[in-house]
């Protein structure tokens, strides 16, 4: 292990303590529920957006709690769902009376626990809606697109739905925007190394030096192809083919691009990928109207990257460019 940690079983709580200590003006925990964290100014007078999932993905999930983004989050252990009660605590603290959108990645444990929270919210008369992020195009074929995992595309969904909530849209409207953003977004990723769970101390899967796994998930879920590492351009081509085959942006259209590092891959390499993505898109006469290159959804210290493309219309364009700020994200 090459980890700067103390007691592995206390890892997540230490991280949260430090984040709250560092950013008390922007974030606070729900009293009595240290794993349920909300904007310091929650609930405000707006629709709440609660997200959550396992730890180990910073800035996902906690990093997207902020102005123009989510209002609250429930933080699970490393790569594990939060409990229904934790989600519910974030829900209550995010609810201004205008209801709460649950916006999170499509993982079994999270779906069950957010479902539980929705039941509890219902009992308390808090209206909720759920939108699952399912952007990982390589995690299931198009015929079973609703079973796909949510990965870096979450950032796009947060950004658009968060901007809609911030300007005062209704719960129905915020949910519609979130669904629209998800429908317009595809991600494909590649892993070059495994990760080690702090508490387990062993790699969650094996990937030899010099190998790559196309379609890897952000918890190391196996992908669709494992083979010798190829040049960055060839890797970008594989990922873009998977994305564009489905998204098929027409000539003249505009897209948002996110080239995301999974943890250990240097920013320099992400720009090498970005360069190829830009050439591919401009070859199709598609304009990159909005771009992010960096670490936006990670998997601890995994080496690898993902590419996310969102097909924009005027509505999404405006929302994606709207101001947003959290301790981890500024736009």
């Amino acid at each position: 292990m090459r980890k700067l940690i103390n007691d592995p079983d206390n890892f997540v709580d230490e991280v949260l303590d430090a984040i709250l200590a560092a950013h008390p003006d922007q974030l606070c925990a729900v009293p009595g529920e240290p794993r349920s964290i909300v904007r310091a100014d929650a609930p405000g007078d707006r629709v709440g957006i609660v997200t959550g999932g396992g730890s180990g993905h910073l800035p996902v999930f906690l990093g997207y709690v902020g102005v123009g983004l989510c209002s609250g989050v429930a933080v699970g252990n490393v790569f594990s769902s939060p409990s229904g009660e934790q989600v519910y605590a974030a829900t209550k603290a995010s609810n201004s009376g205008r209801g709460v959108l649950y916006l999170f990645g499509n993982y079994g444990g999270d779906v069950l626990n957010f479902g539980l929270a929705a039941d509890l919210a219902d009992l308390d008369g808090i209206a909720t809606k759920t939108v699952l992020v399912t952007d990982d195009v390589l995690s299931a074929p198009a015929g079973r697109a609703d079973t796909r995992r949510g990965v870096a595309g979450m950032v796009v969904a947060y950004k658009c739905a968060g901007a809609a909530a911030e300007r005062g849209d209704t719960l129905e409207e915020v949910a519609r925007i979130a669904e629209k953003a998800v429908a317009a977004t595809r991600t494909a990723g590649v892993g070059l190394s495994p990760t080690i769970l702090p508490a387990a101390g062993k790699p969650t899967f094996e990937l030899a030096d010099g190998e790559m796994e196309i379609g890897i998930g952000i918890h190391g879920e196996p992908g669709v192809h494992r083979g010798p590492l190829e040049p960055a351009d060839a890797v970008a081509d594989r990922l873009m083919t998977a994305i564009l085959d489905e998204l098929d942006p027409p000539a003249g259209s505009r897209v948002a691009v996110l080239v995301n590092g999974l943890g250990a891959t240097p920013l320099e390499e992400l720009y090498v990928l970005y360069g190829r993505v830009q050439r591919i898109l401009s070859g199709r006469d598609v304009t990159i109207a909005s771009k992010l290159v960096g670490e936006y959804a990670t998997s601890l210290e995994m080496a690898g990257a993902s590419i996310t493309v969102t097909l924009l219309d005027d509505e999404l364009s405006e929302l994606i460019d709207a101001p947003a700020s959290s301790p981890f994200f500024r736009r």
Binding site: G76, G109, L112, N113, A200, K202, F205
Partner: protein
């Protein structure tokens, strides 16, 4: 069996179950994310601690509800949400009694299994914990002989079921994404249930010895 006899046996069994941590991590890591070892071992410990805090007059319903709450929050995950939901439903079903006889065990397992099935939407053969639960319920429902014998038969049925999951392709949860590559690996959730039954058997054996 009265709750008084049951509680130390359960505590002992849960302690044994914690030792399955590495095996379950490896099984889950092979076709999932590897956290099942933590879910089960932390969950077992949390239940033990929760039960230790309960008064001597705790009913079966209270014990199951406590177990459900502790298991749900120890290491939240698919398994913990499903099992906790199942235990909670069973606690409502069994309620205020302070004995758990064979019929009670059957109700417990049937109720929990039905809830897991309903929430997780898995079917038999989807390579989940259900594949081990269902055949042991069958054994229990048709059982003759003393408790230990029935338990041994249930263990036998679970062992067979777990072995059979190795031949299946996962259709639910994270493992479903792994597709064909799941074939050859037994299911972690089903294995966890088998380990629980074995741990209860061992705890019963040593409680008999020390009696």
């Amino acid at each position: 069996m009265s709750v008084h006899t049951l509680r130390p046996v359960l505590a002992d069994a849960l302690l044994t179950l914690e030792a399955a941590r590495d095996e379950l991590r490896d099984l889950d890591a092979a076709i999932g994310d590897g956290d099942l070892g933590i879910t089960i071992s932390e969950g077992a410990r949390a239940i033990r601690e929760g039960l230790a805090d309960l008064g001597d007059d705790a009913t079966v319903g209270t014990i199951l509800r406590t177990a459900a709450q502790r298991f749900a929050t120890a290491n939240p995950s698919t398994m913990s949400a499903l099992v906790a939901g199942g235990l909670l439903a069973a606690s409502r079903e069994l309620g205020d009694t302070d004995t758990l006889d064979r019929a009670g065990c059957l109700t417990l397992l049937e109720t929990a299994t039905a809830t897991i099935q309903q929430r997780g939407k898995a079917e038999l053969g989807d390579k989940t914990i259900l594949d081990a639960l269902v055949p042991t319920i069958e054994v229990l429902r048709n059982a003759a002989g003393d408790d230990r014998t029935v338990l041994k038969e249930m263990i036998g049925a679970a062992e067979e079921a777990v072995a059979a999951t190795a031949g299946l392709q996962s259709q639910r949860g994270r493992a479903a994404w792994v597709g064909e590559r799941t074939i050859g690996h037994p299911d972690g959730g089903a294995t966890a249930y088998l380990r629980l039954l074995q741990a209860i058997d061992r705890a019963l054996a040593s409680s008999t010895e020390s009696d």
